[in-house]
């Protein structure tokens, strides 16, 4: 029997029981919609984060003390005191790392900020305001940034995020006022506009003070939590990374790279790491969604078994007039695949619509420019998987049908 004929026969079979076919298709639709939506939304999240990381500048290099974490849960030796001022100086020396444009240290200060009895748990960072401004493309809407001079003099000045300002000062002015961090007064010199979550930072909840001040007066340490560096351009990054590693190893007297007490990450590394995490998450969610597709597949199998039993007489007639086992098998298999493929196509359309709506809602709720990504892979996967589900769950009923003895099938009441 030709494919066209088999297809026609399969459609006729499905049309004979419209309601039943529709319900079976619904089971597949739900599964495919779930998969598409999950993949699309997590793809959108990944694109968002990667886009933000990218916007920090492709020539960004981060040097951290300790050993590089092997995975998301490996926090071993992240805190270490191996990066100090002499390391920074050595890196800034053109003889050591010729293509390094600039480098700046950063420290994180745990704790809260307060003003006249109002307290807020902000992310306090000892860093450079100019770097912050450049990396996140943000500039105070009130006041200014603190300067290199402020860092040199270890001045007690701070640039605060919009939420910090709102929580502490409400509607009144913040610039010029003194906030308290760990019992030390810091003069607010700038208030950042609201920008929300960017990459790993919530810029609205940030308080940036000079790293020198944070080290000296807030933490009392002589080491850095991180050194951020900029390469001259994207092309020289591998060379710069190699130079940094060589310089620091020399300085720390390390011969075996496996014993490094620091690690270097480029923007590509960060993007890769984020991609791995969101990839795992999206895979996990998609597998959960896939379960509903399997349930849909069981529905297909169930209905096909009923259909085969009901149409035993038809199978007998077809065999009597010369249908081979293979013809009967193909007929019922194609019916199952057509069912699931129709479900797959409807599911893709619905799923894409739903993820588009989802991206709008998420964008509004999180006040982000949430990108909608039409899940091409998800769509192909959904269609492929649903057709595959049809094959897997259709094969048993179809085999049952094809194995029927013609005479017994004809006599079936």
């Amino acid at each position: 029997m030709t494919l066209k004929n088999t297809f026609k026969t399969a459609l006729t079979g499905l049309r004979a029981n419209k309601m039943r076919s529709a319900l079976t298709i619904l089971g597949i639709v739900i599964g495919v919609v779930a998969i598409i939506t999950v993949i699309s939304v997590s793809q959108g999240a990944e694109n968002l984060i990667l886009g933000q990381i990218e916007s920090m500048g492709a020539n960004l290099i981060i040097i951290r003390p300790g050993r590089e974490p092997k995975g998301p849960s490996d926090m071993a030796e992240v805190m270490s005191n191996s990066l100090k001022e002499r390391d920074l100086k050595a890196l800034k020396n053109k003889k050591n790392v010729p293509d390094l444009l600039d480098a700046v240290p950063a420290v994180a200060v745990p704790g809260t900020v307060s003003w006249e009895g109002e307290t807020f748990k902000a992310s306090v960072m000892g860093w450079s305001a100019e770097w912050l401004s450049e990396m996140f493309n943000i500039y105070p809407e009130e006041g200014t940034l603190f300067t290199e001079q402020d860092i040199k003099m270890a001045e007690s000045v701070a640039v605060i995020g919009s939420r910090v300002k709102k929580e502490l000062f409400g509607l009144s002015d913040a610039v010029g006022r003194k906030i308290k961090i760990k019992n030390r007064n810091f003069k607010v010199v700038g208030v950042l506009p609201s920008k929300g979550q960017v990459a790993m930072f919530n810029l609205d909840e940030i308080v940036v003070v000079p790293h020198s001040t944070a080290q000296k007066y807030l933490l009392g340490i002589d080491y850095y939590h991180e050194i951020l560096a900029k390469a001259k351009n994207e092309q020289v990054i591998p060379m710069v990374v190699a130079d940094i590693e060589r310089t620091l190893r020399e300085l720390h007297g390390i011969e075996d790279p496996a014993k490094d007490d620091f690690y270097v990450m480029t923007q590509t590394d960060i993007a890769e790491r984020v991609g791995t995490i969101t990839g795992i998450l999206s895979l996990l969610l998609a597998s959960l969604a896939a379960i509903s597709l399997i349930v849909g597949g069981v529905g297909v199998m169930n209905i096909m078994l009923v259909s085969v039993t009901e149409r035993t007489r038809e199978i007998g007639i077809r065999k009597a007039v010369g249908a081979r086992n293979k013809d009967i098998l193909n007929q019922f298999l194609l019916e199952a695949v057509v069912l699931t493929a129709i479900g797959g196509i409807i599911g893709i359309i619905l799923g894409a619509t739903l993820s588009f709506a989802g991206s709008l809602v998420l964008g509004r709720v999180l006040s982000l420019d949430w990108p909608f990504a039409f899940p091409v892979t998800g769509a192909l996967l959904g269609l492929g998987v649903s057709a595959f589900v049809g094959l897997v769950f259709g094969i048993y009923p179809a085999r049952t049908a094809s194995k029927k003895n013609p005479i017994e099938a004809l006599r079936y009441e």
Partner: protein, 239 residues
């Protein structure tokens, strides 16, 4: 050459531990172009014999040569192909596909024979014309009378121009007038060269054949040549 040759054919139905013999050593042969009626009371094995001869079932023991080839040498696919190309079936209960037009029902065997669509249409129309149902071509089986349904079944049986036609009680569910029309068509087909095997328990229907095989308890009791063949066209059946 004999088209069908049976030697000591046995068919035993096994149902768990119970063995029910339906055929207990049947031997006979028939030539192409013959019109044979198989008669016998119910349970005599006449339907089983037709099913085995029509490749719908395999014999348990004995030898069956079809056109000189032993049935054991046919694979299941070859049995299906032979049924499709060389055999046509007419059953007591018509066995038409419901919700499928007369035309599509008649085309059914052609869809399994690899014949092109345009030729399928032509052959189906010709077969429907041969049974006089051209005006019913787009009707559904549910819109037809019993006699018309059986004529559709005959059209389906002859559409692929088979050499053999098996008719299993074709008039059993019909009134005598419709039954007569069916027998007329079968006789006409026989005259055109089709070999026909008819299973019936009605003597009058059997008298339309040239040869009658009487069965009892799974064996052939009598194999007689009909002295005076009824011509369905002229005679009137009395049930």
């Amino acid at each position: 050459m004999a088209i069908i040759e049976l030697t000591d054919l046995e068919k035993i139905y096994k149902d768990e531990d119970v063995e029910t013999p339906a055929l207990r050593g049947v031997s006979f042969s028939m030539k192409g172009g013959e019109f044979v009626a198989v008669m016998g009371p119910s349970g005599s094995g006449k339907s089983t014999l037709l099913h085995v001869m029509g490749f719908l079932d395999r014999p348990t023991n004995g030898e069956y040569y079809f056109e000189g080839k032993k049935i054991d040498e046919f694979s299941d696919d070859e049995l299906a192909r032979t049924r499709n190309k060389k055999m046509g079936f007419v059953f007591q209960s018509f066995y038409l596909l419901p919700r499928t037009t007369v035309l599509e029902n008649v085309k059914l065997p052609l869809s399994y024979s690899g014949i092109k669509g345009s030729l399928q249409q032509e052959l189906a129309e010709k077969a429907i014309e041969a049974v006089g149902l051209t005006d019913r071509i787009n009707h559904l089986p549910s819109q037809l009378s019993g006699g018309e349904k059986q004529r559709v079944a005959i059209a389906r049986a002859i559409v692929n121009r088979p050499s053999l036609i098996f008719a299993d009680e074709p008039t059993g569910n019909l009134d005598s007038k419709s039954g007569q029309v069916i027998m007329e068509i079968l006789q006409k087909l026989n005259k055109q060269g089709h070999t026909i095997i008819l299973v019936t328990h009605e003597t009058y229907t059997a008298q339309c054949a040239e040869r009658i095989i009487k069965m009892r308890d799974g064996k052939i009791e009598e194999d007689i040549k009909v002295a005076q063949q009824h011509l369905a066209e002229k005679d009137h059946f009395v049930k």
